[in-house]
């Protein structure tokens, strides 16, 4: 029976082959391998987090009276709406996966790429695209231009409606990830069980309850966890997508904290940060519980059906619709800057002056290069710390199966932790270093390491032990065999750092040399810089998109198996 769980399964392996280097490395060597990851996680995440908790409790529970502030409550209410949207993301992902479950391998492959691409786009860019689409002025906003034909006129970016715009943007960005998870799970549905159930005349509802749903539980938990983390980190989407006047109506607690923490005072701000972390933790708990259940997909991917569903006819246009925001961005970037400011993207032009303006801005080109170099350095640091750590954690004689569970919990908790929870103490301890490359690289690396360890551990745990390997080379062997996981971890780190706005702003990173912060500056005059902003966004988006397209096969292996085929 081959287990081939998705992304990372929590269930223990019943794999008789055993992981690499079973006879394994000594404890001292293991400790050395873990050192860098533990130091970074403890120094950058855990210690400041502990400081935040202590500060929040310095007046008993007094600082938690911050919860009586109506503005705080509004922001927390917004957080709940965003977390509700996370559930919607899962539902949309499942719906898409259900529709696409038997569209054939080619269209399935296309959908996997097309639907997942938005996830690597900076939320700033997503916000800009949807703001362009829903501009209040029918001369510029496509949706209002269509409505104007029916005599309707809606201030989409205004009161109330702004939720629709940002909600759609959020769905567009993250549904693809949920789709990928469910699509994989549906493809690995225990077909023989289902056939048997049909043969025994089990009614359809019973089939769904006793076979389909249990086999989807793990996937659902994972999709939910990813969506909750995305919802908890909503920040730059609001900054770019909503006009300044509307931001208080939609900004989640974390963004409110960023804006007001110095007004709230140290203690109440710390209390709010703790509350936000607890909220994410509570909402992530069901997912962890779901993941803890044994999730196995006992069958290999089902062979493609002989007949192809007519849903192909639906899914093709749907893929095209999913690409529309990219089209909007590219068409806007190809308009003359003056034209882009006053009329919509559907007046197609092929004018490269917006690109000319974008590239003439030495701040932008400088930041492009600096951000690229810095991101590569972070990726290297993450792999340097996470690969040996994950390798040690995959050693069964060092980390027995029952001990892995708490390690996993800590890693997931750290991966999901909102940076607000540790930003202030961290910034104070870094005060002399704030703005230095070293500080930002270290903080970014520490933030990504827990996620990287999770991804890598899973790959390494299923690397087959080489018959003749000497343990000195076991790590190299594990890296080679688990290369899809290494690539996946590296690409994840790259995308997270490349697109980061939140950490930069929280650490008061000067906008001068970080690409997303340069893009963010453009929203001071959003419409009149639309052409340049679009051109800069296209350039900024092309990098992670190209990376994902180039590595897509390895990424897919990394997501599904973790080891080389």
């Amino acid at each position: 029976m081959s287990e081939d769980a998705f992304l990372y399964e929590v269930a223990p392996h019943h794999d008789t082959r055993g992981p690499a280097a079973q006879h394994g490395i000594g404890r001292w060597r293991a400790a050395r391998y873990l050192l860098l990851a533990v130091l970074l996680a403890a120094g950058v995440l855990l210690a400041p987090l502990a400081a935040t908790v202590l500060i929040s409790l310095s007046d008993g529970l007094g600082h938690y009276r911050v919860l009586t502030d109506p503005d705080v409550l509004r922001a927390l209410g917004n957080s709940l709406v965003w977390l509700g949207l996370a559930v919607l993301v899962c539902a949309a992902g499942f719906g898409l996966a259900w529709l696409a479950r038997d569209v054939g391998p080619r269209l399935g492959g296309v959908l996997r790429v097309v639907l997942v691409l938005p996830a690597v786009v900076s939320p700033l860019t997503t916000g800009a695209i949807f703001r362009l689409l829903f501009d209040t002025n029918p001369q510029r906003g496509a949706v209002n231009a269509v409505l104007a034909a029916f005599g309707a006129d809606v201030a989409f970016l205004g009161l109330g409606w702004i939720w629709l715009v940002l909600g759609l943007a959020f769905l567009w960005q993250w549904s693809g990830v949920a789709f990928l998870v469910f699509h994989e799970a549906l493809a690995r549905m225990p077909a023989s069980l289902l056939r048997m159930a049909q043969a025994f005349g089990l009614e359809r509802r019973r089939q769904i309850w006793s076979i389909v749903l249990p086999s989807l539980a793990g996937a659902a938990s994972l999709a939910y966890l990813l969506a909750v983390v995305a919802a908890a980190r909503v920040f730059d989407l609001v900054l770019m997508g909503a006009p300044g006047s509307m931001q208080p109506w939609v900004e989640p607690g974390g963004q409110f904290w960023w804006r007001h923490h110095s007004d709230l005072g140290t203690g109440p701000a710390a209390a709010l940060a703790v509350l936000l972390s607890v909220l994410v933790g509570l909402l992530a708990l069901p997912a962890l519980a779901g993941l803890r259940r044994q999730v196995t997909w006992p069958e290999q991917r089902a062979a493609p059906h002989g007949r192809r569903s007519r849903r192909r006819l639906l899914m093709g246009p749907l893929a095209a619709l999913w690409l529309l925001p990219f089209v909007v961005l590219v068409l806007t970037s190809l308009r003359a800057p003056e034209a882009a400011a006053v009329s919509g993207w559907w007046h197609i032009q092929a004018d490269l002056r917006s690109y000319g303006d974008a590239l003439a801005d030495s701040g932008f080109t400088g930041a492009l290069l600096t951000t690229l170099v810095r991101t590569v350095v972070v990726v290297a640091l993450v792999l340097l710390a996470a690969v040996p750590a994950a390798y040690v954690l995959a050693q069964e004689h060092l980390v027995p199966r029952r001990a892995w569970r708490p390690v996993l919990l800590v890693a997931v908790a750290l991966a999901a932790l909102p940076p607000q929870a540790f930003a202030v103490p961290l910034q104070e301890s870094l005060s002399r270093l704030v703005g230095s490359t070293l500080a930002l690289v270290t903080v970014h690396a520490a933030l990504v390491i827990p996620l990287a360890v999770l991804v890598l551990h899973r790959g390494f745990a299923r690397v087959r032990a080489p018959v003749m390997a000497r343990h000195r080379w076991a790590l190299v062997h594990a890296m080679r065999e688990g290369s899809p996981s290494v690539v996946l971890a590296g690409v994840l780190a790259f995308v997270l750092v490349w697109n980061d706005t939140l950490v930069g702003l929280l650490l008061n990173w000067p906008a001068g040399d970080h690409l997303p912060l340069i893009l963010l500056e453009q929203n001071r005059h959003f419409m009149s810089t639309a052409g340049t902003l679009a051109a800069q966004s296209v350039i900024a988006t092309a990098v992670p998109v190209a990376l994902v397209i180039v590595t897509r096969r390895l990424l897919y292996r990394g997501l599904t198996g973790g080891v080389r085929a």
Binding site: A155, T370, L438, N508, R524
Partner: protein
């Protein structure tokens, strides 16, 4: 270790076309983006003595001045809010100008929080008491604020940008209560005074008369530039209160054949004079930075007047104390002259505020005025009720800062 340090040091230089071998370029942090940033780049390029790199720090500029690592500390900063000069954490990092460029007394006093020590020099100043319209719109213009509470053509307001609303408030308050205006700051009591509440009520009444609920709803999604476009490109509104730097926006994006005209923001009554609210950007040399920084500030703001700066002023949208009004386009010479001769003008209130009332999207005075705007135009509340609610919040917010 050494190689890494060298490598890291190379990063900032790599993209910036580092000039003269040996000396590193002078780093200048500004807050602009888009057109203004591009213009400033052309000015800085002409600095004859050193290579200059300019980067936009955006709203983060205050944090940048509070003392980051030296690796990124700018040598020169051009700050948009005078209030920063009064923040002890920032002021300590500023190197006073030993030989400040000659600038008019009114302006000089503003940048000298401690008498005798000139902390910076004005790079750009702004006239914030103008109302713009199409030359041919043919409507009666509001002579006084009270007349403006009756419809005088549709208003265009970029209510998505809180600073546009605070400019409105400052003009109305200064017109009605020139005595209260300069006293307002972070003390809570004054914000509760009758003068403030009455100004808020008058403001709400003008806004309510100037737009319908639907227009108010739309206005909340419009930024400064959009509000100019509504008058001069799409012609969906008649009047827009905006600073002098609306000029280049009109010139660049206005519809063909449209001529822009402006009048002074109306006075409270026929007897009183019109208000003059001013703003501007101050160039500073920083302690942590290069000793040559002061020379750059003097070059930028002194009578030497870089040619690119004069060209910028010539196209409109750039006024400065050291640039004679005649350089500006004809339409802006009047406002430019008023600024240079200013004696009793008042500096932009929201740019002076610190603490919880200080501006920024979704906070402080901006947030409260946004809600007042919504109440007056979208939900059509009575101006008196809306003003009372706004005044109560101003007091409460100011108290938060005092606590």
């Amino acid at each position: 270790m050494l190689s890494r340090r060298r490598f890291l040091a190379a990063i900032p230089a790599a993209g910036l076309a580092a000039g003269c071998a040996g000396t590193r370029p002078l780093r200048v942090a500004v807050v602009w983006s888009g057109d203004e940033l591009r213009r400033f780049l052309t000015v800085a390029r002409d600095y004859p003595h050193r290579t200059v790199t300019v980067y936009s720090a955006g709203d983060n500029i205050a944090a940048l001045l509070r003392g980051p690592s030296t690796e990124v500390a700018p040598d020169v900063a051009v700050i948009p809010r005078l209030g920063m000069l009064y923040e002890p954490g920032i002021r300590a990092g500023i190197r006073p100008l030993e030989d400040p460029p000659p600038q008019p007394e009114f302006w000089r006093r503003l940048v000298s929080p401690v008498p005798g020590r000139v902390l910076g020099a004005w790079f750009k100043i702004a006239h914030k008491s103008l109302v713009w319209h199409r030359d041919d719109h043919g409507l009666p213009l509001p002579e006084t604020l009270d007349a403006w509470t009756r419809p005088r053509g549709t208003l265009s307001i970029g209510a998505a940008d809180g600073w546009m609303l605070s400019d409105w408030f400052e003009n109305v308050l200064l017109a009605r209560s020139p005595g209260t205006y300069p006293e307002l700051g972070s003390q809570a009591e004054l914000w509760g005074s009758a003068e403030v509440t009455e100004a808020l009520e008058l403001l709400a009444a003008v806004w309510q008369a100037g737009m319908t609920a639907e227009q108010g709803r739309r206005a909340l999604t419009l930024q400064f530039h959009d509000s100019i476009l509504d008058v001069f490109t799409y012609r969906t509104a008649d009047l827009v209160a905006a600073p002098d730097f609306a000029w280049p926006v009109i010139a660049r994006y206005g519809a063909a054949g449209v001529t822009a005209a402006h009048f002074r923001f109306p006075a409270a009554s026929a007897a009183a004079g019109p208000p003059l609210v001013v703003g501007g950007d101050v160039a500073l040399a920083l302690n942590a930075g290069d000793p040559d920084a002061a020379a750059f500030v003097t070059w930028l703001t002194g009578p030497e007047r870089p040619a690119a700066l004069e060209a910028w002023a010539g196209e409109g949208g750039f006024l400065a104390p050291h640039i004679p009004p005649e350089v500006s386009p004809p339409g802006l010479r009047g406002p430019a002259g008023e600024l240079v001769q200013a004696r009793n003008a008042r500096y932009d209130l929201s740019d002076r505020l610190t603490g919880p009332l200080a501006g920024g999207d979704g906070r402080g005075l901006w947030l409260i005025l946004t809600d007042l705007f919504t109440a007056a135009t979208v939900t059509r509340e009575r101006p008196a009720a809306a003003a009372a609610a706004a005044a109560a919040r101003l007091v409460a917010t100011a108290r938060k800062g005092a606590a």
